[in-house]
């Protein structure tokens, strides 16, 4: 049973290796891609079910007890995140069958997709700080390659900024790990949790400074203000399938790491949580302002990621409140928000990609007429778009609701006010896409004439639509029956606040004894 924990790492790794060996056959890669991500999804769902039934699962890799060996842990949060990774991966793998051209496939799109998923899922289940660094690097290198695949000018420029800033983040992370090990002598997160109170009592400032390094490093990954530069520089440049999986997952790994680190290891650092809350508030606003200023579908969507990251981190930042109810609600909101956002944001990119293919451009000013031409596509767009804007009864509404509720209960009026302002501007910029691409009459000059991508026939369009429709249905289901996700998120929040089940699952730490 415990072996299940490692499956979300091994399945994509095996697929990646097989995909490399099959690099001659685009067809085989496609099949491995869809089947492999499907298997990942299935395994992750199984993992979630098992976690729900049996509680936190931990696996001591290579059989060495914690804290000596590397622990993989799946608590509710990890399991949810892995499922979300599986969902996004599966959707993108299908979408990519059409979206990724032959050149890029040959150059290794599918192996990199698997490696990326491996890194993402690995990050979610690892219970070891240095191992988390390795996971990040797996994810990073895959994302570097995916971003640069194709070598178009814009892509290269975006990739340079993306890679540089992410490498800076890695360097800071690595330094932070060195310091952390120097402070505590361990890397196991559960063990760190146990040692940290003692260390912090003795060296409070040093612990705060170390936490600061982690905050900056993960803040870069998550896209917090003012560390998010890499994101709007690059997310609109690669093929849509790549943007979609980036948009869905990458920043959320950063958020996950922030949540994990600043509950399990630095759970009592009020200053850090306050800083997170401030930065998150600024992130909401700065991100949405960016979105409002743009007229390019994917740029708008990219800035929205930032803004929404702000919402999620606000949930974590509410840990400043001493009220356990607020803390629980805040974390619950953060988890719910992440789940909602991954599905919705990936979908918006996928649909944006369909629009791009139909219109040959992503510039809103050159678009129009899609509502008349394809009302069903318009309806499909509205589901994630309105969900992102927090319109009930879609998933985003519940995410905002729980966050507002936590913020109000904590008495953080400014934060809630900023969230409301950002909410209205989110609506504004989603409607901008709707107005310009769908409602407006098509422009006089037909941009499709200049289309550089091969036109879509029915079959290919259907392949692109399958994942988009699937994710939209998921959004609707979460919206209409939010209870399930709320229960999951509530459970995850509970485990984050009281990690006893986590510690017990990791086991040996408590006694600290050798085998």
């Amino acid at each position: 049973m415990n072996q299940l924990v490692v499956m979300p790492v091994l399945i994509p790794l095996a697929c990646a290796a097989l995909s490399v060996l099959a690099s001659r056959s685009a067809r085989a890669q496609g099949i491995i891609g869809v089947v492999g991500t499907g298997a990942l999804l299935a395994a992750s769902i199984l993992l979630l079910r098992t976690v729900l039934e049996h509680g936190v699962l931990a696996l001591q890799i290579a059989g060495w007890p914690a804290p000596y060996g590397i622990t993989l842990v799946a608590d509710t949060l990890s399991a949810i995140m892995v499922v979300l990774g599986g969902i996004t991966g599966f959707a993108v793998a299908i979408y990519a069958l059409v979206d990724i051209d032959a050149d890029r496939r040959e150059a290794g799109f599918y192996p990199m997709l698997h490696v990326l998923l491996m890194g993402v899922c690995f990050s979610f289940v690892t219970g070891d700080a240095f191992n988390l660094y390795v996971c990040f690097e797996i994810m990073l290198i895959a994302s570097f390659v995916l971003l640069a695949l194709g070598g178009e000018r814009m892509q290269m420029e975006g990739a340079l900024k993306y890679v540089t800033l992410n490498l800076v983040s890695s360097a800071i992370f690595l330094s932070a790990l060195g310091v952390l090990y120097g402070l505590t002598g361990t890397l196991n997160l559960a063990h760190l949790h146990q040692l940290m109170p003692g260390v912090a009592a003795e060296h409070p400032d040093l612990v705060a400074a170390t936490a600061g390094l982690f905050l900056v490093s993960f803040g870069i990954k998550a896209g917090l203000f003012p560390l998010y530069f890499w994101l709007p520089s690059s997310y609109h440049t690669p093929p849509v399938a790549v943007s979609a999986i980036f948009a869905g997952l990458l920043t959320k790994v950063g958020v996950y790491a922030l949540i994990r680190m600043f509950t399990l290891v630095f759970g009592d650092l009020e200053g850090a949580h306050r800083l997170l809350l401030i930065l998150a508030t600024l992130t909401m606003i700065a991100g949405v302002l960016g979105a409002v200023s743009q007229y390019h579908i994917r740029r708008i969507l990219s800035f929205h990621i930032i803004s929404q990251i702000g919402y999620m981190v606000v949930g974590l930042g509410l840990m400043v409140s001493p009220d356990p109810d607020v803390r629980r609600l805040g974390l619950l909101a953060a988890v719910f928000y992440i789940a909602h956002h991954i599905i919705v944001k990936a979908n918006l990119f996928l649909i944006g990609g369909i629009v791009r293919r139909l219109r040959g451009t992503e510039e809103l000013r050159d678009m129009g007429g899609l509502y008349r031409q394809m009302p069903w596509l318009a309806a499909l767009f509205l589901v994630p778009a309105l969900s992102l804007a927090g319109i009930p009864p879609l998933s985003g509404f519940w995410a905002k609701l729980s966050l507002f509720r936590a913020g109000l209960q904590a008495g953080q009026w400014v934060v809630v006010g900023a969230a409301i302002a950002a909410g209205v501007m989110t609506l504004m910029s989603m409607i901008k896409i709707w107005n310009e691409a769908f409602w407006k009459a098509p422009p006089e000059t037909d941009a499709t004439a200049a289309i550089t991508i091969e036109p879509l026939d029915r079959g290919r369009l259907a392949v692109l639509l399958v994942p988009a429709v699937g994710l939209a249905v998921l959004t609707l289901l979460i919206g209409l029956f939010p209870g399930f996700l709320f229960d999951l998120a509530g459970r995850a929040a509970g485990e984050l606040l009281d990690p006893t089940p986590y510690l017990e699952a990791v086991g040996a730490v408590a006694t600290g004894g050798a085998p």
Binding site: G108, F130, F144, L227, W439, F486
Partner: protein, 779 residues
């Protein structure tokens, strides 16, 4: 779920599924079929009558257990009144719409939106749970957005729809915050989570005593007044006339804009009754009433006249709810019902005129009564009710309004004057939309008018006749519904007595006098406007052209340009700026506590030094520093290589042979790769000036100092040795390896290594991919 109350909400939603198919088959006759949905609702709700004042029927289904949110519904006098208006007028509008839109290919879609809107409205007025209510509230906003922007290829329609959505959307979010605070306050006052979320549950506590009362009150009020188009958020409503007329007839008479009124009424037992409530709500209503009624005089488009007069009535209703006395509430109920009926009728009339003549501009209309007799009849009857002329239902409403004003203390004479002024204007505007187009000389219209088809006349005639009927026989209304509605708003059972004639007592006579005065003055005003004696129109237009509309435009522009400027500043495109900010943040976040920690402790043991160590370290240091100054790429590369090699040596000195081996091997490979990469890159040119170099040096030094301090401070800490001791002890016996570092790599922490080789392999493939694509380009 079997409770019929819930089922009636589902009826319109269910109808949306069949609507497109029906519309495709039946075209202009679609409405007759789809009107069945609201008709069923109407029939069911009618059977609930009479409603006993002070009673309520509630039903709840669990929804989100963990947050205590239920699908909870409540039927009392207030909600039933609204249910009847929504479904009754809804049915008539349904019939009207397909005829109005004719062969529009988007008819099916239109009905989907309209039916969904209706379902949302039904849900809104039935909801007992605050969150349930809010869900429907927002749904009405979205549906109305789609309906107002139905002619979406016109920029004006899009802008109008956006305006409505943004204003109500902002209000919605504020309302949500208010609702959540209500829940929190309720819980703090001792309610369970479920009870605190319910409107009926809140009756058990007094929110007015809670510290959050003012916040709740302001937030909820903002939600209501944005939705119900009160000053200063009123501007979206006239703009929304860009929507098709059936939409205006439905949304802007009886439903959408009344949602805010409904909510104020619904919550007034819980939030009302304080002086703050009275003054704020009353004043907002009063200002809106005056604004709307005066602005209506400046309009010459029939629909816009109606839109502004709607504002006036909405303002009046809000004002009455602010006053909140028994009389005021009863007045509000009567006024609300009367207005819903005559305004829907008038919108339909305007639609008919527009449809048949091709224009809604008053100065091109006239003398239509012979050509469109039924429309004219409906228009004139409805306008009489609007004008508050006896024996219409509107007359009763106005009489009660004046009675309220005269009998309530603290309101003062100026409120009476304001009411009279507003009503004079309303009389004039009623004449504008009835006398002007239908009587007098034939106008010069784009199309030659005929009477509109039955479907389009039916609703207007029925509604206007009902206005007459209710006026003559108000008793069925008051016993069946009116009393119960007023009781629900007041929060205690009351009796309502309506009459056209109140006998001879001083107040009644004064009121009657005021009514007659209003009618006379209104008639006179209309005459002035019609003859263009007074430049009232242009003057008023100019007066009302400044104000919140401009503010909205400016705000919108401000947001756009501000967003642009901020984003350009932050996202400048200059990579070095990004790196610098990132580094500065690192220093700012980690630096201060680090300096405190460093200052606070003793120096760490330095561990002595050997000359060869110092030489190697100094060499590395010098090489690194020199690397920043050199221009030659290869020389810089050599220096970086020297740094790496020195590190290898340091690893050797400090007991790390594996590291040293790896470091040196890697260094060699890196240099090989870099040589190949740097091949044919341009020479390094110095690009930055002395100033920016100085600035960069300061930032860089700050980072360096921070890290140095980290090393020095952390070295003082005695870390827990358990983990590394374990590796040293167990490596040979348990893992069968004498090289502990390697055993860690391939056994104790093999998972790291597995990840690491994945990174390595992926990087290799990545390099290949980068080089490959380039080759393709060339060939």
């Amino acid at each position: 779920m079997t409770d019929p109350l819930i089922l009636i909400i589902l009826v319109p939603f269910a109808a949306t599924i069949v609507a497109p198919a029906v519309a495709r088959r039946l075209g202009a006759h679609t409405g007759w079929v789809l009107a069945l949905a609201p008709a069923i609702v109407f029939a069911y709700v009618s059977r609930l009558l009479p409603i006993e004042p002070g009673t309520a029927h509630t039903v709840a289904v669990p929804w989100v257990g963990s947050l205590g949110i239920e699908f909870a519904f409540l039927a009392d006098g207030l909600s039933v009144t609204f249910l009847l208006l929504i479904s009754g007028i809804g049915a008539l509008v349904m019939i009207y719409a397909s005829s109005y839109l004719g062969r529009d290919p988007r008819l099916g879609r239109f009905y989907v939106f309209l039916l969904a809107f209706m379902g949302a409205m039904l849900g809104l007025v039935l909801a007992d749970n605050l969150i349930t209510l809010f869900v429907f509230w927002e749904l009405t906003s979205v549906c109305s957005y789609l309906l107002i922007g139905f002619d979406h290829e016109k920029a004006e329609a899009r802008a109008a729809a956006l305006k409505a959505l943004l204003v109500t959307g902002l209000g919605g979010l504020l309302l949500l915050a208010g609702f959540l605070l209500m829940g929190i306050a309720g819980e703090q006052l001792g309610l369970s989570a479920i009870a605190a979320g319910k409107i009926s549950g809140l009756a058990a506590v007094d929110l007015r005593e809670h510290a959050y009362y003012h916040a709740i009150f302001i937030l909820v009020l903002l939600g209501c007044i944005t939705k119900s188009a009160q000053v200063p958020f009123h501007f979206w409503l006239p703009a929304a006339m860009a929507g098709p007329t059936p939409v205006s007839a439905y949304l802007h008479s009886a439903t959408m804009v009344k949602a805010g009124i409904y909510l104020l009424a619904r919550l007034s037992p819980h939030l009302g009754g304080t002086p703050e409530w009275g003054w704020t709500v009353g004043l907002i209503g009063l200002v809106t009433m005056l604004t709307g009624s005066l602005a209506t005089l400046g309009q010459r488009d029939m629909k816009r006249v109606l839109a502004y007069s709607t504002l006036a009535v909405l303002g009046t209703l809000v004002m009455l709810l602010g006053v909140g006395t028994e009389m005021a509430v009863k007045t509000a109920v009567v006024y609300l019902v009367a207005h819903a009926m005559y305004k829907a009728a008038l919108f339909m009339v305007a639609g008919n005129v527009d449809h048949e003549t091709g224009t809604r501009e008053l100065h091109r209309l006239g003398g239509l009564r012979k050509l469109m007799p039924w429309t004219a009849l409906a228009g004139i009857l409805a306008a009489l009710s609007k004008a508050g002329a006896p024996p219409m239902f509107g007359f009763i409403g106005k009489e009660m309004l004046y009675t309220t004003k005269l009998t309530v203390e603290n309101v003062g004479a100026w409120a009476v004057v304001a009411s009279v002024v507003a009503n004079v204007a309303l009389v004039a505007s009623a004449l504008m939309v009835s006398v002007w187009p239908f009587l007098g000389k034939r106008g010069d219209t784009p199309k030659k008018p005929h009477e509109a088809p039955l479907a389009m006349v039916l609703g207007a005639v029925l509604l206007s006749l009902m206005g007459l009927g209710r006026g003559l026989m108000p008793q069925p209304f008051e016993t069946n519904l009116g009393s119960a509605a007023a009781s629900a708003i007041l929060g205690r059972p009351v009796e309502m007595h309506l009459a056209l004639w109140h006998g001879v007592d001083p107040t009644a006579l004064a009121v009657l006098g005021l009514s007659l005065l209003t009618l006379t003055l209104g008639g006179g005003l209309y005459f002035l406007i019609r003859r263009r004696v007074a430049p009232v129109g242009p003057l008023l237009r100019r007066l009302f052209s400044v104000g919140p509309t401009q503010l909205y435009d400016l705000t919108l522009q401000g947001i756009y340009s501000g967003a642009d400027r901020v984003t350009r500043f932050i996202q400048s495109g200059r990579l070095r700026f990004y790196v610098m900010v990132t580094m500065l943040v690192t220093v700012i976040v980690a630096g201060p506590p680090l300096v405190r920690a460093f200052m606070g402790g003793p120096a760490a043991a330095n561990g002595g030094w050997r000359i060869h160590e110092i030489i190697v370290a100094a060499l590395a240091l010098t090489a690194a520093l020199a690397a920043t100054a050199l221009r030659s790429r290869l020389a810089t590369l050599a220096l970086v290589g020297v740094v790496g090699t020195c590190m290898g040596l340091l690893f050797v000195f400090f007991s790390a042979p594996d590291l040293a081996l790896t470091q040196v091997m890697i260094e060699v490979l890196s240099v090989v790769i870099l040589v190949m990469v740097l091949h044919r890159l341009p020479l390094v040119i110095k690009r930055s000036g002395r100033l920016s170099r100085g600035r960069d040096a300061v930032v860089a030094a700050a980072v360096g100092i921070t890290m140095t301090l980290f090393v020095l401070t952390v070295a003082r800490v005695d870390r827990d040795p358990t983990v590394s001791d374990f590796y040293l002890e167990q490596s040979v016996p348990a893992a069968h390896g004498r090289n502990v570092v390697n055993v860690i790599l391939v056994d104790f922490r093999a998972m790291d290594t597995l990840g690491e080789i994945t990174v390595l392999g992926a990087a290799g493939l990545g390099v290949l991919a980068l080089l490959r694509l380039r080759r393709k380009e060339r060939s």
